[in-house]
């Protein structure tokens, strides 16, 4: 059976949550909604011209990455990407969900290209070649950004 593009609604249903999380970790919760709308409006516009065997997840996260960069450029100085914690954590043991939040926060604090490389590699599962295309650099530079990003994350989030 040949591949066909799913109806756009199904594509949106299938990818909205990861795009949302990518954008929250990239631009913060306040501006994530505008970026989210811009991402899917752009995707809707280009959708019928897309090849049916495309990696839809990689494609939409690439668009989201570009919208996040536009958003960063639109701001003179970027505010903290996530809300401040309420105060000292009374519980020394973090739940899995809290560790996930901590990791997303650390991802959000990475420089743009490292963050994109990390998210596209491990959340979108793109190969290095496609990451390079998505962020507009050489494959070697993409590998380097990825590696540097991972080292920073390791320091920020002790295992």
């Amino acid at each position: 059976m040949s591949h066909r593009l799913p109806p756009f609604q199904r594509f949106l249903d299938g990818h909205r949550d990861e795009v949302w999380r990518f954008l929250v970790s990239s631009v913060g919760p306040t501006e994530a909604e505008d970026c989210f709308q811009e991402t899917f409006i752009s995707a809707l516009s280009a959708y019928p011209r897309l090849r049916a065997d495309s990696n839809l997840r990689a494609w939409v996260l690439t668009i989201a990455h570009r919208k996040a960069i536009d958003c960063h450029r639109a701001r003179a100085r970027r505010a903290l990407p996530v809300a401040e914690p309420d105060g000292p954590d009374p519980h020394p043991h973090h739940s899995a969900a809290e560790r996930d939040e901590q990791l997303w926060d650390a991802v959000g604090a990475l420089p743009t290209r490292q963050r994109a490389a990390v998210v596209l590699r491990f959340v979108a599962d793109l190969p290095h070649r496609e990451i390079a295309v998505a962020i507009g650099c050489s494959e070697e530079a993409a590998r380097r950004s990825l590696h540097e990003g991972l080292l920073k994350l390791r320091k920020a989030v002790p295992a």
Partner: protein, 222 residues
């Protein structure tokens, strides 16, 4: 170029992969709930700006929820409850455009006219229709069908003759059976010569029900 020491980052890599898994959606606060609300506002915007080629939603009927789809031209598809929603959407995506989204507000006129019809308060539909799912012969047959007045009926042969193919009653039956907008294009008003019900895509019970609603069946057919 490989990382100098892959094991250094292995724990972070596996945590990142876990975050990326769809089943993990509940892990970051209420992100699934948030993304649903954000997506609903996106759909409002798509509808307001007319950015999709096909919109769809369900509309109530005495037969259960019908799936209605429309283009910028008008209503293009009405599907009975037992039709699989994904198959209907995939068919529309393939034949019209994959730019297809849920758009509840767009169907208020469809809801209103159907409700009036089912309450016996409306004898003809005024909804704009999009005939693009119907081929040239089917169009002739269904236009002839659309001209049959409320409460009336024609035979398959009569409809075929109206469509310009006097010997095409079987082909006319096929065209009626693949009517993409049943009820609104009243293919239930076409019967066998002599008054037997013939066929109906939505089931003969519904055909009988519609004809009784319209007062076209004097007595229950044997």
């Amino acid at each position: 170029m490989n990382p100098a020491n892959p094991s250094e980052t292995a724990a972070v890599e596996s945590a990142l992969r876990r975050l990326g898994e769809p089943a993990q959606t509940g892990s970051v606060g209420d992100s699934a709930t948030r993304s649903a609300a954000v997506a609903a506002r996106l759909l409002d915007r798509i509808a307001a700006e007319g950015l999709a080629d096909v919109g769809y939603d369900t509309v109530d009927s005495p037969f259960g929820p019908l799936l209605a789809a429309s283009t910028r031209r008008g209503l293009v598809r009405l599907a009975f409850p037992e039709e699989d929603v994904d198959s209907v959407l995939e068919g529309l995506s393939r034949r019209l455009s994959p730019r297809i989204v849920e758009s509840p507000a767009a169907f208020d006129p469809v809801r209103r006219e159907l409700e009036q019809y089912f309450d016996g308060l409306r004898r003809r539909f005024e909804l704009p229709l999009d005939w693009s799912l119907i081929g040239p012969f089917g169009r002739r047959v269904l236009r002839a069908t659309a001209a049959i007045p409320y409460g009336g009926h024609l035979s398959y042969g009569e409809v075929a003759a109206e469509a310009g193919s006097p010997r095409g009653s079987r082909a006319a039956g096929n065209a009626l059976g693949s009517n993409p907008i049943p009820i609104v294009i009243p293919c239930h008003r076409v019967l066998r010569t002599g008054g037997a019900l013939g066929g109906y895509g939505g089931g003969l019970e519904r055909k009988r029900w519609l004809l009784e609603l319209e007062g076209a069946l004097q007595a229950p057919p044997g």
